[in-house]
């Protein structure tokens, strides 16, 4: 991460403007066990109470790191729960990073967030339709498969 992603100006700007960045050595005697760190890099998004909302393992390219962090920020809002704000983070991934590996999950969670707010099943059907059209090989299409049965 130090060699490729972190020196990238877009990453620096995104992290410094949107998150509190914290680096902890994986062998930290207290935090390593607390967060069950077994391999690096492990990247985690926490809220201000130290509650974990998102975790990744392994390296991220500069192109994938921002959508990954947006996914984590969206999940933290989803869990809060602030579904409209969560949906806005997922929307950013879909619109600004349509080719990202994170995009299928963002489509899924955006639709779920909107369904919870509206109880409109068209949001669930929309998840299936968008994934089937744009990400037919994604595992998220499998997870959304039952929603096609909601069509009348």
């Amino acid at each position: 991460m130090d060699a490729v992603a972190y020196p990238e100006p877009s990453i620096i700007n995104f992290v410094n403007n949107n998150l509190v960045a914290l680096r902890i050595p994986s062998d930290d005697k207290i935090l390593g066990p607390r967060f069950k760190i077994k391999w690096t890099p492990t990247l985690i998004v926490l809220d201000g109470d130290g509650i974990e909302h998102y975790r990744t393992l392994g390296f991220f390219s500069p192109q994938e790191l921002i959508p990954s962090l947006l996914l984590g920020m969206g999940k933290a809002c989803f869990n809060k729960p602030d579904r409209p704000k969560a949906a806005s983070f997922f929307e950013r991934i879909i619109k600004e990073y349509p080719k990202s590996f994170q995009t299928p999950e963002a489509i899924y969670l955006q639709g779920v967030s909107r369904f919870i707010e509206t109880h409109d099943v068209n949001n669930l059907i929309g998840i299936y339709d968008q994934l089937a059209a744009e990400h037919p090989n994604s595992e998220w299409l499998m997870r959304a498969d039952p929603y096609r049965l909601l069509k009348k």
Binding site: I12, A21, L22, P25, D27, V45, L46, D47, G50
Partner: protein
């Protein structure tokens, strides 16, 4: 800004998170 403004204190990062209304991005790295 030409680098990420990393914090190194967990407690300070959480306090800053609450003050600034931002989430914390933690990188558990290999110290080598």
């Amino acid at each position: 800004m030409n680098s990420i403004a990393w914090n190194t204190s967990f407690e300070n990062a959480l306090a800053k998170s609450k003050t600034d209304g931002m989430l914390v991005f933690v990188d558990f790295f290999n110290p080598g």
